[in-house]
Subunit: 379 residues, 2 copies
Amino acid sequence: MAKAAASTSRVSKRTKERDAVTLKKLVGLADDVAKKALSKKEPVIDIPMRSRSNTIWDKKKGILEMGDASAARELFNLNQAKQFMQTLLHASTIKSFIEAEKTSSLRGVFYKAKHTVAGTKENTFDTQDESDPILEDLEVSLGALREELHIFAENRGTVVGNLTLVDKGDEIDCRRMGSGGYGIPSIVEPDVIQFKKCEAKFVLHVEKGTVWNRFNEDRFWEKNNCILTHGGGQPPRGVRRLLQRFSQELKLPIICLLDCDPWGHYIYSVIKQGSISLAFESSRLAIPQAKFLGIRAKDQEECDLSDAVKIDLSENDIKRAKEIAAYPWFEGHKGWQREIEHMLRNGFKMEVESLITKDISYVTDDYVPQRIKAKDWLE
Amino acid sequence: MAKAAASTSRVSKRTKERDAVTLKKLVGLADDVAKKALSKKEPVIDIPMRSRSNTIWDKKKGILEMGDASAARELFNLNQAKQFMQTLLHASTIKSFIEAEKTSSLRGVFYKAKHTVAGTKENTFDTQDESDPILEDLEVSLGALREELHIFAENRGTVVGNLTLVDKGDEIDCRRMGSGGYGIPSIVEPDVIQFKKCEAKFVLHVEKGTVWNRFNEDRFWEKNNCILTHGGGQPPRGVRRLLQRFSQELKLPIICLLDCDPWGHYIYSVIKQGSISLAFESSRLAIPQAKFLGIRAKDQEECDLSDAVKIDLSENDIKRAKEIAAYPWFEGHKGWQREIEHMLRNGFKMEVESLITKDISYVTDDYVPQRIKAKDWLE
């Protein structure tokens, strides 16, 4: 039976090929250190800088990217020796994960590497705060994604819609996932997940599970021939990467329905252009074509919503809104400048869930279909 | 085609029957108020008290329950008139949800009811903090669960394993859910979700998605013939209710793998006996037979774990541990008293993920199977 055969080795040929490439990079890093040591040169690892100052806004591509600056991490430097050894320790842990054909979490890597150095009272790592940045250093210096290093994040978010995908050999029909949906895994690379059949014409991405429930209960995806996702707030890497694959491989527009507040705007910003902290992965996570459908600052008036939808902007909201308006890609964007100004002029924010004040299914039956038909969105 | 037919009305006969019962209760509440008013008596609603003092530990059943105390909510009482009207307002909103055959979130109910009373400057509700307790009042006074009132919570948690279930007419084969799993919905009542086929002999419930990933990647559920769930930390209502249904209807042992810390102990306590704030729903959510497999205070020694697994207990941990030890059902339980004392004597806590220090799959290949075989758990 196909199932039994598949379960003896769930690791695909594509995964093995990908792993071979990553392993080569890891061994290359170690070889380089060893070669330098044997030729009596100082062992050094070159680590690209992940600072704000080394983050570049690529206007043409429409994404945040990491610049060329890098720093040498030296073994024979009292300030850097510990980090140097931590880097090699994590590289060795990752090599063992890849060889075992297994994945682990950031916390798992931390525990795996944490120990007291023999004959001393010195710990390799004391807290995970020390460990995570070293992993990011490895990602950028190897040019390998976290997922390629066999590290997963927390899973969050679900999907339903007119799509069949294959996940580790299991065929998942997202049209027949009931009220629960298919849980989006943390690692959604093409060697794990393949798209098999898709009739959907766009993706509707909503902020929260409660809103997703409304759309799924009303079978919005069936009536409007789309895919429906949420990310439980700020979408985790798996959700962002899956949305990007929907955009790039299936050529589907990604339409976001988020709250009209700085947090909603920020979520959109991260989906669209990437974040500073993960700028080195923007090319794999960002979706410059993503659209912001709503909630819009004009909606209280335009949709004739009651005053009940208004939530006063706090001082902090106002501060955040101004910060976001100054983001490089928001800065030159007239539509977004007007949008944020309008929200500030209103003095209130609005949540997607507030549309229930019109009618329980106003958001699914009227608001979203009308806006999509009119192509009334920001992008 | 079956699918097309199902999609025209996804509301099952069972749901309609359940809704008819709830509607009758709602209309009864309103009739009672109207009758009192028309016969010139004072309109009063009797609300069972959800306080700590009215929470009873039922030793025989092994769950926390709500006692018999109740308080009258009067219309002609300046301190209660607003709450009285809020209660009827929410009852009316819920009636409209049931009639529309739709569900909404706590936040949705809040927005639906929020407005300025005509001709005044008085709002029905100002914040959701005011709204949620009124809904709980309705739950207890009607004797109807939140799910029966058509209110869902945030979805969290996933399931895989040797089980086929039906969710709103869609058949979900939890053996073929890849790396992502089936997302556990918020409402898992028998009219929505039916169990179709189950070979599994037990349920392994783990605390976090990252640990669940390890077990799913190692196909623990296939090798050990079980169902695998997680609840993303403290499991939400949907996950607790699903576990209870696995326990009661499928007669499966629920085996919990949680951290060895007060938070892990508390999660277990809530799964097993219910919580004070939701004591009125314990009979539907609590699982007195649930077992605590680990992590155990003895494990660092017994499993020969390195010092790397130790995380010092904070002052707050020690305080919480002592509070939990004094819980009625922990109090009379020798095993649990020893367990908590042992942890306090150790002076450190341990996480499930720390078992990676032995080997990446030690937890799935050795630890859990051995403990289950030896029936080595607390209950």
